[in-house]
Amino acid sequence: MTVRIATMGMAGCSGCHIALLDTGVALLDLLKDVELVYSYPVVDTKNPIPPNIDVALIEGSIRTDHDQEMAKAMRKQTKFVIAFGACSAHGGVNGLANTFNAQEGVEYVYHKTILMAQKVVPHENVPQVLPADLRLSDVVKVDFVIPGCPPHPDEIAKVITTLLAGETPQLSKKSICDECPLERLTEIPDQLRRTHEIPEPEKCLLSQGFLCMGPATRAGCNAECTRRGMPCTGCRGPSETVWDQGVAMLDALAAMEEDQVANFKLPRLASTFARYTYASSKLDNLRKGVQKP
């Protein structure tokens, strides 16, 4: 029996679809048992969404009313909906737009940027921008989340294989540090360092003063960044027991650079501590003026 799979892209960069392709040889094996019934890179998606879909992988956040409609339509036809990638799971980088007023943003783009000479905000036959960037689960029920920007190909393959075997996939409940091979922190660094600075190899990046989101970020990516000397930026969202990923790391830094951290402006706060999760973070909850529909 073949499993009917659909993929869909909302506000996003298609990177998650590329990651799907990046599963490589594993993809060939998967495709044997799978019928790809709806997927914009390979199948015509102009028709209405076909019925009886088993699994839908939905990439991207919900940014327009069109995204919202499509998500709902897909949900109707699908047994198991997967929020695919950081945007879909937590709002993604797009969510940082929530630190600004959406309407002002639209006005700015259509009135002030050079390319938009007409200075008219189009209203007909185009999707309307929602007041805030949303994650998929804000709009429809989501059965499973594959986090990451982009998700790790191994994890994508594992989740789909598990589903094909009729089992429920599981995400790691731990944090990046659990998979990170670097030597651990035992001292508080005396100052913060920027990403362009060169870290000492094989030593915990946080202990060297780099802002690594590892401790509060969900494991499952094999710590690909940190093991190569790049601090974790937190693309996989909060780990299981973290109340809020960004606030948790802010707290860790309060010990290091009290004065600096206490003065971060919101865009910096959001883009540093909640780069992929702002739309679903407590920071966004706190913000006034953005009402979720």
Partner: protein, 783 residues
């Protein structure tokens, strides 16, 4: 689970304000509450006895005492519940007297609503708490004393006399320390070695003292409550079992070396005995300079030694000792004045330190009591002493070095007394500090009897060279310039931490103060204790002090150490931080946050483990952990959330808003209790939760409390430099600033989060500040 709630109306002093009927009805409806009983005298003997029976009969396994402050009669309730088989984890308190009824007398309705919330918080909290297991940690009845100066020797003898085995470790080849070469002591001018000598001999021969001369600590490990110390016995290249101390070898040795025991004013040989009264009276070969050991030449000492004690092939030896307690008595090092540019100490041989000066004058010292001008061997006529070198000087240390005024006077008197009564001696001081017993008389005598001159200096002072002789140029406190020519200039140098203090601090986990000395747990009431259980302080390793103070502290350290040994073998309640191994991700953030250095990685480095002996359950780790994997057993994130939920869930009708205050259980809780005792009134909006330290409340916890419906959060912390756990209060403030910034940046009003940092026992200030903080929060809400 069955929860019992005891309501106490305290002889109507609580029920005057609170509506007990409403409280009882409310409490009975709370989940898992199976028994509610009101009395007016719960703290008395009879009701407590009855309580034990009730607990057993009704099979209650959790108890909430809604009464006065737990700091008052808590222990009585613990005892009563213990008799019924309950542990501390199963009982909690709702302070409805000092924190509620007594401070909201004009607002019975609000106070009753608040009491309901406090009781519910305690009920929820106790339901989430766990029983506390007890565990017995045997403590080895032996003590290591590190450093055998007068403080270390005194502590060792005191302990040994009590039948406790002492390992006395000294890095030099002899015990005795600085005091052995001080010549005389102030203010009595007693012979220093005459006082110390017998103590040194006693330490060397005491059946309970094992001496480790020429030995250094290289590693320290904590096992249970014990310390395992790795000691490196340095090779002396002389078999001390054979050496008779005849000194034949030291006369014949051709290699001359600067003598550190004389602060380099004299030379010694490469094979040497530090001073003539050394204990043990044995010689040591200085491997750095010995020609035989460095070049395989010479070998004279071996030839002259009739005891055949020389052993050039000797190696360092490592020994491990396991002890139940450690006393640090590592002493000090005289400040090196060569770093003070204007004194020209290094270039000018006629500028010397007090230690060098006294060593020169010592009749049994290397010069045999000759006093001469180093540069030309003349008889000196004028001596100028400069006080506060390296102390009370922003560049080096702001601290007064405490001993130097008296030491300078002592040396001046000695020079006149033993050498030349006509010497012209001037002491240039900022002021003379003569606070100890007999000190002022000593100072007066110096002026009256010995005709020693005292001049007073401001900040500007330098040593210049005038016709080949030094002169001290300085301005007095009124800005007038003076110049004093001298034959010898003596610098009264500060005490600085002895070399190796930092490494030692790291090995044992004892915090260092700003100036690099070991820090006591409390500088008033726990002077000989450190933050690390079982490690005590004696003498100048704790800071500048003189001999009487050092000996006094040594006695205290010995006392505390023996008390520790005798009490700690008994079981300890394991109310300590617990790690959830499934959640811990081994990021290690908690490790530097722990003031007791109780956290480390497990062997496979996949989670952290807590040293149950060291942990003081302050909760700093809990706040630092991003994944809520660690926290004190009964103040963990789940318990705190339960308590917060108890305060904030709906269904209590009251006109008040709910402001959650986290109060540090050290200083602040007491101040708040006292405000209650003095009936100082403040708004009933403020609901207090006791936490071990406000440093245990994380940034997420503050925001979470607001999200749960609190109108505001106030952190009541100790003054930031008086936190019992080091940086807890500072962290609380830092976190609050972070939260306030986050709220401000998100367009909210940061006034919702307030920090109050104050010293305990300031009840009036607490009430006033609480009122102000509540006003700030309510003003924000437009109320």
């Amino acid at each position: 689970m069955k929860i019992g709630v005891l309501l106490c109306n305290c002889g109507d002093t609580i029920s005057d304000t609170l509506d007990y009927e409403a409280l009882t009805t409310f409490t009975e409806t709370l989940p898992k509450v199976k028994h509610v009983e009101t009395r007016s005298d719960w703290c008395q003997h009879e009701p407590l006895q009855a309580l034990t029976q009730t607990l057993t009969k009704k099979k209650l396994d959790r108890l909430v005492v809604a009464a006065c402050s737990p700091h008052l009669f808590g222990p009585r309730f613990y005892q009563a519940t213990e008799e019924a088989g309950m542990t501390r984890g199963q009982i909690t308190f709702a302070n409805i007297r000092e924190h509620c009824a007594w401070v909201h007398q004009d607002n019975p309705q609000g106070a009753t609503a608040k009491a309901k919330r406090l009781i519910r918080a305690s009920v929820f909290r106790v339901a989430a708490q766990s029983p506390v297991a007890t565990k017995t940690f045997p403590v080895t009845q032996e003590v290591a004393v590190l450093g055998a100066g007068v403080a270390g020797i005194q502590a060792a003898i005191d302990l040994a006399d009590r039948g406790i085995k002492v390992h006395l470790v000294e890095k030099e080849p002899t015990i005795g320390g600085h005091m052995a070469v001080l010549n005389k002591t102030y203010p009595t001018l007693d012979c220093s070695i005459c006082i110390l000598g017998p103590k040194m001999a006693e330490a060397a021969t005491h059946p309970n003292i094992e001496l480790y001369p020429y030995t250094e600590l290289t590693d320290a490990k904590h096992i249970g409550k014990d310390w395992v110390l790795t000691l490196n016995k340095k090779a002396t290249y002389v078999d001390w079992d054979k050496c008779t101390g005849c000194m034949q070898c030291t006369e014949k040795c051709p290699t001359r070396v600067d003598d550190a025991w004389s602060w380099n004013v004299a030379k010694r040989r490469a094979i040497y005995m530090p001073f003539s009264q050394s204990v043990p009276r044995k010689v040591t070969i200085d491997a750095e300079y010995c020609k035989k050991l460095t070049n395989d030449k010479c070998g004279v000492c071996e030839k002259v030694c009739s005891a055949e004690a020389i052993a050039y092939d000797m190696k360092d030896e490592t020994v491990n000792v396991q002890v139940g307690s450690v006393i640090l008595a590592t002493g000090f090092k005289e400040f090196d004045p060569s770093v003070v540019p204007e004194l020209h100490y290094a270039e000018n041989p006629d500028v010397m330190t007090q230690m060098q000066f006294i060593r020169m004058m010592d009749s049994v010292g290397p010069f045999g009591g000759k006093l001469e001008v180093p540069s030309d061997g003349r008889k000196p006529e004028k001596i100028v002493m400069i006080q506060c070198v390296g102390s009370r000087d922003e560049r080096y240390s702001w601290q007064c070095s405490a001993y130097c005024c008296m030491a300078a006077i002592k040396h001046a008197e000695l020079a006149k007394l033993e050498y030349d009564p006509n010497l012209d001696i001037t002491i240039v001081a900022r002021d003379i500090r003569a606070g100890g017993k007999g000190f002022d008389e000593f100072y007066e005598r110096a002026k009256e009897e010995y005709n020693i001159h005292f001049e007073y200096r401001g900040d500007e002072l330098k040593v210049v060279q005038n016709n080949g002789k030094p002169a001290v140029k300085y301005t007095d406190p009124y800005g007038k310039a003076h110049s004093l020519p001298a034959d010898i200039v003596v610098l009264s140098c500060a005490m600085t931490p002895s070399p190796g203090t930092e490494e030692l601090a790291k090995m044992l986990g004892v915090p260092l103060g700003e100036l690099g000395f070991f820090e006591a747990q409390d500088e008033k009431v726990a002077l000989a204790r450190t933050n690390i259980n079982g490690v005590f302080l004696a003498g100048t390793c704790h800071g500048p002090k003189d001999i009487p103070e050092s000996v006094e502290q040594a006695g205290a350290a010995a006392e505390e150490s023996s008390v520790w040994l005798s009490t700690q073998s008994v079981s300890k309640e394991l109310d300590v931080a617990v790690v959830n191994k499934d959640v811990c991700t081994a990021c290690g953030l908690c490790i530097p946050s722990c003031p007791s250095q109780a956290i480390s990685f497990n062997e496979s480095k996949d989670c952290v483990i807590v040293d149950e002996v060291r942990c003081q359950a302050c909760g700093e780790c809990m706040a630092t952990c991003p994944v809520d994997a660690i926290g004190p057993l009964n103040v963990n994130p789940v318990v705190l959330d339960a308590a917060i939920n108890g305060l904030l869930s709906n269904s209590v009708e009251g006109p008040e808003s709910v402001i959650v205050g986290f109060a540090c259980s050290e200083c602040m809780y007491r101040a708040i209790d006292e405000a209650g005792e003095e009936r100082l009134q403040y708004p009933a909006d403020l609901h207090l939760l006791e936490v071990p330290c406000t440093g245990s409340i994380s940034t997420p916890k503050i925001l979470k409390t607001l999200e749960a419906g609190a109108d505001g959060v106030i952190l009541f912390a100790c003054a930031s430099d008086l936190c019992h756990y080091g940086r807890g209060s500072r962290m609380a403030n830092s976190r609050a600033q972070v939260v306030r910034n986050v709220i401000r940046q998100s367009g909210g009003d940061p006034a919702a989060v307030q920090v109050v940092q104050m010293i305990g026992r300031e009840a009036k200030e607490f009430a006033a500040t609480a009122q102000k903080a509540v006003d700030a929060i309510k003003g924000r809400n437009g109320g």
